[in-house]
């Protein structure tokens, strides 16, 4: 944190809200105007376990490969404009991700322009038995069960780490920082904190940086995407601009986007994102600080610009959250479409026939869920009775520890086309696929147990 006073405004742009987000966004953020940092968030709760499976098959994998394409598309700008990139693309294998980044830079003749910082230490899988043996029970935060009950099915275990190691990588001159399971918000807060030299106990400022991170971590979801407020009037979503934080040293900041892009930044679009995935708004707990969402003040500050101020924070806890993924049985979901007249009655009849046949086969499931898409799948009974709908999609899912039972279920849908109720279609996709369920186990661990390491090369 030695960069005090270097900048009056620090601009952090979001270029990816999850692994699978718009491939165009990173390059558009870098080339569309002046920014200091590009922040790319790739990790959702179950992403780590998918990456762990990939790493088991190939020790050089286990990171978000989209990131390598993103880097390739912005390499010239990193060099020319001095934009620094921070991403949790490392997944369960940050060193391999760094190798891949250096390789594409080499290929493009830009190796000398890239200084890669790699943050490790969040991966607890190799230490899991040692941790359990020394009394860290890693109880499920929702159910209270100790991890021992599913230990033999654990696929991955990663502590959510905060801004400190990212700041260290930036301090040591990295212009591409790759982490594993960093919190999404730390990816934004770290560069702001680094630039302004905020200390570890400047709770209000750290909380402001976290809230800035929360606003932009889902990419365009704060700039007009998925926005219900006045949605018809949101301009040019085809050319939507991803959000940019313009942070000040005093902890206030503005949210904006590049001029000429589509979408919208307004108090309602920002408010919708602020309440997204919110728990107790008084205590948004992160490794760095507890942020208080009831302190946030928003004010319009010009076209597509909102000012955010007044934020308070409190000291962080002595725990880190741990994201654990474990094998939890199998599932399959299949669909058929029934048409007018009496579409819903036909779909209901088909469900009745299907359930009788599963019963006759002696198949038992932990869950057997029927939904009528077009009638009640999303709002249930709140949707009220249907009015002569033109078609209904019957959607049936099962879940079971027994793979064979789920396989058998997938063979029972297609026959209904010829031997069930009439006016049925929409089965061209073939029979449903059996999927192994990888479930999420949230837990807490003492902070002291987790040591991060930063390498810059």
């Amino acid at each position: 944190m030695n960069n005090r006073g270097a900048k009056e405004i620090v601009k952090v742009a979001a270029g990816q809200g999850f692994w699978g987000d718009w491939l165009e966004a990173p390059r558009r953020q870098v080339e569309g105007g002046d920014i200091d940092y590009l922040m790319l968030d790739y990790l959702a709760e179950v992403t780590m376990s998918i990456l762990q499976k990939q790493k088991e098959r190939d020790p050089k994998m286990g990171y978000a490969r989209d990131f390598i394409g993103a880097i390739e598309s912005i390499l010239p700008s990193i060099a020319k404009r001095g934009v620094r990139v921070i991403a949790n693309a490392g997944g369960v294998n940050p060193p391999a991700c760094a190798d891949a980044v250096r390789a594409v830079a080499e290929k493009a003749g830009a190796r000398k322009d890239i200084r890669v910082g790699v943050v490790t230490g969040d991966d607890l899988l190799p230490r899991l038995d040692e941790l359990l043996a020394s009394g860290h029970e890693l109880r499920n935060m929702d159910t209270g069960e100790p991890l021992a009950t599913v230990r033999d099915r654990v696929l991955s275990a990663n502590a959510y780490i905060g801004s400190v190691p990212i700041v260290e990588a930036l301090t040591r001159g990295a212009n591409v920082v790759i982490t594993g399971r960093s919190t999404d918000t730390a990816l934004t807060m770290a560069p702001i904190r680094f630039e302004f030299g905020w200390g570890t106990e400047e709770w209000d400022k750290l909380a402001a940086g976290i809230i800035a991170g929360h606003i932009i971590e889902c990419g365009a979801q704060c700039s007009g995407g998925n926005c219900l407020f006045d949605w018809r009037s949101i301009p040019d979503l085809a050319d939507v601009g991803y959000p940019i934080v313009e942070a000040h040293a005093d902890g206030t900041f503005e949210i904006t986007k590049h001029p000429g892009t589509g979408g919208r930044i307004s108090v309602p679009t920002i408010t919708e994102q602020l309440v997204y995935e919110m728990g107790d708004p008084h205590s948004y707990i992160t490794p760095d600080v507890i942020a208080d969402f009831t302190s946030i003040q928003l004010a319009p500050a010009g076209p597509d610009r909102v000012r955010v101020y007044g934020i308070h924070g409190r000291p962080a806890t002595d725990k880190l959250k741990v994201s654990i993924a474990y094998r939890a049985g199998f599932k399959a979901v299949g669909t058929l479409v029934y048409s007018w007249p009496d579409a819903l009655d036909k779909a209901r009849k088909a469900d009745e026939v299907l359930r009788a046949r599963l019963d006759h086969l002696g198949l038992k499931f932990d869950q057997l869920l029927t939904e009528y898409v077009g009638v009640s799948a999303t709002h249930g009974t709140l949707a009220g009775p249907p009015h002569d709908v033109p078609e209904v999609q019957l959607r049936v899912g099962v879940r079971s520890p027994d793979r064979a039972g789920v396989e058998r279920f997938t063979r029972e849908l297609a026959p209904l086309v010829l031997n069930g109720p009439p006016s049925v279609t929409g089965f061209a996709g073939g029979r449903p696929k059996v999927e192994e369920i990888v479930a999420y186990w949230p837990a807490l661990i003492d902070k002291r147990v987790v040591q991060t390491t930063v390498e810059v090369s």
Binding site: D142, M278, L298, K331, L369, A377, I437, A439, Y440
Partner: protein, 118 residues
Amino acid sequence: MRVQLVDVAHARSGDKGDTANVGVIALRPEWYPLLEKYVTRDRVREHFRGVITGDVERYELPNLKALNFLLHGALDGGGTLSLKTDAQGKVFSTALLRLVLDIPDAEARQLGLPQARA
């Protein structure tokens, strides 16, 4: 007067495990006290009876003119365990906006509230 929440508020929802959260935001700042007064925890619990299996919690954010509801047991186990179309609770937001409130006529007129469409 009957007022439907969709005409006085907007909303976004998300998930944490088997819990869906719904943030409800007043369409006009002067309508926020109406949300606080009428969109109570009990009222929302009643609204989602039979749709969710757990309890409802409510938090107030007067600074954002918003309420945050936690709907427990809303997602058939949640995350990858869930077989639901809406496994991540993305449209519980609009399910809550179906709520119809009975507001005394004088209060409704004073606040310029739109009458429920149906």
